[in-house]
């Protein structure tokens, strides 16, 4: 049940990864980097792309899982400790995206004041996905690609006429500090490069596999950069207040038509793949726990992790901005360590023989 196909990893990057960067991230970026938000985002993509390329290089050289590599180098106990740390990290890294998605759903999809219960079913979906392992990530990616492609194409086409692209000028106007802080504080949204590391040994490396994954990642990057371009072209000086960005950019074309806000259909559609992508770090967390305690029935760690996430979502219900500030401005180094330093260092791990995990 922990098998995933290379095609599905490609779809994960092309069809699901871009959506996570279309809710709060653009507004944060506009606040930090102003009209240079593309440079700040491109810096992050370049770094993350480099890490993915390195991990794919590793995949081409070994059939071992990441756990096997750690075990070969540090022994079983050492590998379990590191997996324990990663389990904690995945749980930690899932908090802000889940709160982000919760606020998005409750603010955009309802006219009145909805209760928290409206979002609670997410945790049932997440629990189910966690029990099913990597296989469900792959299947979700298969389904997500066409949905995301159509939704984003329509949303962007509706938004383009409103965009004034000269708003992105002058290049470098925000200064190096603004661009750098935009990149640094955006690290929370760039945890995707960690997933291929944990997929190691769970997918069959094909010829030109790295090129295919990189191409898919480049496609996802291009979509996000286009989205940010249109976003800043539409809002320029007031861009920083546009949280729930994906629901904001297309409304100016549709609001006064006789059809009304037909773009909401596509925003709804885009929210679905996003839900499944938010499950990925939670699934990864459960995966790590199962590696630490392989005899344990997956239902128990899945219930525990999703229960913890549910409690976190309840307790942090009114603390989104505090959590965002903490994660982006204070704890950026945690993301840098786990998402960039560890995958790069994994190239140094001993590539002994490992079991192929199906």
């Amino acid at each position: 049940m922990d098998k995933i196909k290379l095609r599905q990893i490609c779809f994960l990057f092309a069809g699901m990864m871009p959506l996570t960067k279309m809710i709060v991230y653009p507004a944060m970026l506009a606040y930090q980097a102003k009209n240079d938000l593309l440079l700040a985002a491109f810096g992050n993509f370049l770094l993350e792309g480099a890490v993915i390329a390195l991990v794919m290089f590793l995949a081409s050289r070994t059939d071992c899982t990441f756990f096997d590599l750690l075990q070969n180098t540090f022994g079983k106990i050492g590998a379990k400790i590191i997996y324990g740390l990663f389990a904690a990290f995945f749980l930690f890294s899932a908090i802000l995206p889940v709160l982000e998605q919760k606020a998005f759903v409750l603010q955009v999809f309802y006219e009145n004041v909805p209760s928290f219960l409206s979002f609670a079913p997410f945790f049932a979906v997440s629990f189910f996905a966690s029990v099913k392992g990597f296989k469900s990530i792959g299947r979700a990616a298969d389904l997500a690609l066409p949905v995301t492609a159509i939704s984003l194409a329509v949303i962007l086409l509706l938004s383009l006429p409103q965009a004034e692209f000269s708003a992105l000028l002058p290049v470098g106007g925000a200064g190096a500090k603004g661009i750098f802080s935009g990149s640094l504080y955006g690290l929370n949204w760039y945890t995707d490069c960690l997933y291929p590391l944990f997929f190691l040994g769970h997918f069959k490396y094909e010829k030109h596999g790295a090129a295919k994954v990189m191409l898919a990642y480049a496609a996802g990057t291009a979509v996000v950069l286009l989205f940010l371009t249109v976003f800043y072209g539409i809002f320029s000086d007031i861009a920083l207040r546009q949280i729930n960005t994906i629901a904001q950019i297309s409304k100016y074309t549709t609001a006064y038509t006789t059809l009304g806000r037909i773009d909401l259909f596509f925003i709804f559609a885009a929210a679905l793949p996003l839900v499944f992508y938010l499950c990925v770090p939670i699934q990864m967390c459960v995966h790590c726990i199962r590696k630490i305690a392989p005899a344990c029935n997956p239902v128990f760690p899945a219930a525990a992790v999703n229960g913890a996430m549910l409690l976190a979502a309840i307790f942090l219900n009114y603390s989104f901005f505090e959590v965002q500030t903490l994660f982006t401005q204070k704890l950026w180094w945690v993301f840098a360590l786990f998402c960039y330093a560890v995958p790069i260092l994994s190239l140094l791990l001993k590539r002994g023989k490992g079991e192929r995990h199906e």
Partner: protein, 406 residues
Amino acid sequence: MNKFWTRVLLIAAAALFLLFFSNDFGLINIQQTTIVTAIGIDRSQEEGKIDVSAQIAVPNESKASSVLVQGAETVGEAIAEFNGKTGWYPTLVHCRLVLLGAEAVSENVFASLDYFLRSEFVEDSCLVAVCETTAAETLQANSPVGDLPSSAITKVLSSQAQKTGQVSVCNLRDFAKGYFSDSASGYLPVISVKKEASKEGGNQSSGNSQGADSASGGSQSADGSGASAQSSNDSDVFDASKTALFFQGKRVAELTAEETLAFNLADTKTDFAYGDIEVFENGSKVTYNLKMKIGKKSMKLKFEDGVPVFTFRIRAKAQISDADKASGIVEVAKTALVPAHVLRAAEEMFRAQLQSAFEKTRESGCDLFRLRQKLYRFCYPQYASHRETLLQDARIFYDIRFDTLR
């Protein structure tokens, strides 16, 4: 996990997922919800306070109502009062229009307008306009075609009206962008109510009376003046041909209808306009009504020998729509051929109107044509040295050329 539990979980997840896209657990009963279609903001008689009026469409009523809250400190307080005094919970998601009273714009309007930017439940795609009188009176006007006044005004301010150049339409997002930009400038159409048309029946008068009743019973009184105004058969039409200019949130100048048309030809999304051109033919004055299709328009800022030069460039094709003289059948047949002297007169007229509009921006400080923004974006090295004096120092060129359609 066996297949049975997999299926049970799948069905449970699917059922629960319905909650995700529904609002069965919403806190507000739809039967107690009013849909606010427009908000009017006026300066109150009490110093430092505002009067807020709302045009509302009640779901289970067939008629529109207006309610007024007087002497509120903030728009948010007034909205809360609507709920407290009437029992209706106002939803602003469908608010398509924000009207500012004539006196309200003498102070920084963003003291009130920022409410709509702060709230996640108000769309900043709503139109904003200034009233020639008070917003409350304007929202009580009697539309000749049976629309809600707010609906009639939104039609006057439609994107189609913008395309013909008669109105300078502005939504809250664009107005806020101008205010929060380096220029701190913006423009809004001025809505004036004119009693011109005659209406059969008086369907809407009862709607306003109902609204007055619904808001009564508290310190915030309902405004009944509109109800009496609507009891007659006189109908009102709305004119938005003038444009108010804003600097730092305050109204500082006003463009005439002709200047508004020239501004629209030069800057906004107008691509098909009508205009009257006066010429002298054989010693007598003749007025031609020209239909103009704008081919190209641009506004460029560049530096020549250290001096900022701002150039308006407009290319348009014209054809004769009408003339106030009896023409021969050959002239009527050749409406696409505009005499050269009429074209030159059109160029001169629009140049003069544009110049007049620009002079108003210079005098008032309103950076209507976004010179500072262009300086920042396209001439960044000169930005620091010229941003304060740009409006005064810039040399303006008007490169306007009209050609005949064929």
